[in-house]
């Protein structure tokens, strides 16, 4: 819902948008939003989206992934996507549990979390994706809450308007399998960074906020600072899509001269 509203608000044509989703409950997104879509495989939304965006920068490419999809199976891509700064958007439906496989722990589940795969409680602490995104040189790092649709829509609009890789972790409680991190649990704890005059260009402060967890949990934009996107390093393409080139005009005869 928030995504659809954000698209309307930014004024994007549906043909311009490509929605990329992985495997998990979020994966059905491609079936629910009438824009271009690619329903890929578990953990691989980011490289898939990267290929699409690099090939055709005229498209607005938005990835939807789950916490297991992005932070477990596809973790390597998360770190590199932040670092690489390809102009794609990543929205992670973070419910801190594997829902589609009927409830197992994920890397954002809290220590002690009891699931079918951890019947005695998870024995490892959770991973901190916000801090990792910051440490990986992410240029837009934010967190939203599905219980505050207006605020989330605003974040998505900002992410779409950001030139570069924009990442939003979204608390999206699983009403079926997560008995701990419920809507009410979050409602009691979340506060908005912008309400406390947070400076989004202050990375040190953003890192401090990233480690804030417990009675008070921040949502909003932790950090935002535009820097050159990946394609800026490819001056020969001048921002043009790879698609428009006349393939018949290529000739490697000159290249062969160097091999003689």
């Amino acid at each position: 819902m928030a995504f659809k509203k954000a698209l309307v608000q930014v004024g994007l044509e549906r043909e311009q948008v490509v929605l990329v989703s992985g495997i998990g409950c979020h994966g059905a997104m491609v079936n629910n939003v009438n824009v271009n879509g690619f329903h890929g495989i578990h953990g691989r939304t980011l490289p898939l989206a990267t290929g699409i965006k690099l090939a055709n920068p005229d498209l607005m490419v938005v990835c939807f992934a789950g916490d297991a999809d992005c932070y477990d199976e596809g973790w390597e891509h998360f770190v590199h996507a932040n670092r690489r700064n390809v102009d794609i958007k990543l929205i992670v439906h973070d419910n801190m549990v594997l829902g589609l496989t009927t409830g197992q722990t994920t890397s954002t589940s809290p220590i002690g979390f009891k699931t079918k795969s951890t019947p005695f409680g998870s024995i490892v602490p959770s991973l901190n994706p916000i801090a990792h995104a910051l440490a990986s040189n992410g240029s837009f790092v934010a967190r939203g809450f599905a219980g505050d649709m207006m605020h989330l829509t605003g974040l998505i609009v900002e992410a779409i308007r950001h030139r570069g890789f924009a990442y939003i972790d979204v608390f999206q409680p699983c009403v079926t399998f997560n008995y701990l991190n419920t809507y009410d649990w979050f409602k009691e704890r979340v506060y908005k960074l912008e309400d406390e005059n947070h400076d989004v260009t202050d990375k040190d402060k953003a890192l401090q906020n990233a480690f804030e967890w417990g009675d008070r949990i921040p949502i909003g934009i932790f950090y935002r600072k535009e820097r050159p996107v990946y394609r800026d390093g490819l001056p020969h393409l001048k921002g043009k899509p790879l698609t428009g080139q006349k393939l018949e005009e290529t000739d490697v005869t000159a290249l062969m001269e160097d091999l003689k």
């Binding site: 043909e15 329903h39 495989i41 290929g51 690099l54 090939a55 393939l247 290249l255």
Partner: protein, 581 residues
Amino acid sequence: MRENKLSLIVGGEAGAGITRSGFLFAKACVRGGLYAFGVNDYQSRIRGGHNFYIVRIEDQEIYSQTDSIDLLLALNKETILIHKDELVPGGGIIYDGEEVTLDKAELGREDVKLFPVPLRRFVKELKAELIVTNTIALGAAVALLDYDFGSLEEVIRDTFKGDVADVNVKAATMGYDYAKQNYKGKLEFRLKKLSTAGKRKLLLTGNEAVGLGAIQTGCKFYAAYPMTPTTPLLHFMAANERKYGMIVMQTEGEIAAINMVVGASFTGVRAMTATSGGGFCLMSEGLGMAGMTENPIVIMLGQRSGPSTGLPTYSAQGDLRFLIHAAQGEFPRVVITPGDAEDCFYKTIEAFNLAEKYQIQAIILTDKNVLESHTTVDPLDTKRVGIDRGLLLTGEEYRSAEEYLRYRFTDNGVSPRVVPGTKGAIVRANSDEHNEDGYTTEKAELTSKMADKRFKKLDALIKDLENYETTKLYGPEEADVTILGWGSTKGPIREAMKLLNDEGLKINYLQIIYLNPFPAAVVKRVMKAAKKTVVVENNRTSQLSSLIREHTLMGVDHKVLKYDGRPFNPIDLSQKIRSVL
């Protein structure tokens, strides 16, 4: 005195510039109108160990290295001890006589000639880096062979720049002058520049040929993770990224590479990746996704010795079965196996065309022997294979009156492709089973109908392949022995055929170029006509034999298998083939 027929080895530690100097020598000969074949044998390390590069030179086409050595350029003592017994009687060794002491018992060969050159002392006199040692030895070799020094100088100046070129030319001159003064006329072998000298032929590796083919046919997106023996292709593509309007990316791994390639393909771009067996294992899931979503991609797989890490810098043909079946579920794919650098160029172009025409995945199956060996070829014909993008509709061609369905059912299973961003069309790719519009389905009837749709493309492809050179027969229609093989064994097999023909035997050889779909009709016809069949392969289980049996219900008579990481040597191979008679 033997002229224009030579086998030479440059050997030494990793990091001593072995491959480069072997390559320079080969290229200097090609500039002189001769034919060169070069193969590097190196260990998986950056310094130390023993590396060598074999160059074979003749005045006619050659397809592989040979079994013996005429001249050894030994940059260390170990090289002499390892290779001395491969030397022919009358063969020579160039080495540093002031650094290496060599007693007769150690050498054990009285019939070879020693040509000590003070390599290390010359390097000091030049105040140069130690790596120019090999260039001094090259200069000495050119003098001993009475070859044209100008060709070597020209090649050095083309390869190096500025001061480095000057130092190397000086180094080569020192070696050349020293050998001329001290050993004039001492070696029985000569190389002579031909009237066809000049910049006419290419000294080409399979990696370069695949790269040339990919660029020629409009590959605009290349993503890969370095892995021997395909890393040089990444380097080649990267070097040409800006000149040819491409994006060439080194990714965080093979999984990222194949997913990026599929993403680029989704937008209508010709996209490719390359890897070896280990990387291909990681790509398997992405390959299956490309199959299910019907995104055309090209993967080059360069085989090396396995299983697992195996011999990382040596060759094998052990991945054929794996990649014909890789990834869960069933979907059509095409597997093409070029036998040499020239094949690599044309078959890469065909791979891109077939991938797009049938919206399938084309795999170019090669190995270290094809990818890293240098062969002498005529300039490639850039017009021979055109570009066929199949049903890829651009904005103007797309009629928005009709609702666009990415997976529309058609007679041959191929649905028109429209790129995302086209006005009026929503393009939906789905790795889940899907309906014509790309929406997820779990319906029984639709599931089998979609599988049928994908396999209708295979039927169409099989029919289309009748117009392609899926196999190639060398030698007469009727023969005493019929050899069957695929990939890089082509070179040694053709060399072995020459030797067996010289003995008066009638041999023919069927090179199977397309292994999936399997060209069953042709293979069956050749098998039926054959008196005796021999399969030649670089693997332990003779995977081609099993494919032949699967598709023709016929067994082969004999198998000649080699799985030690090294290529077949022609004499050895010819003896094994003769022994089946």
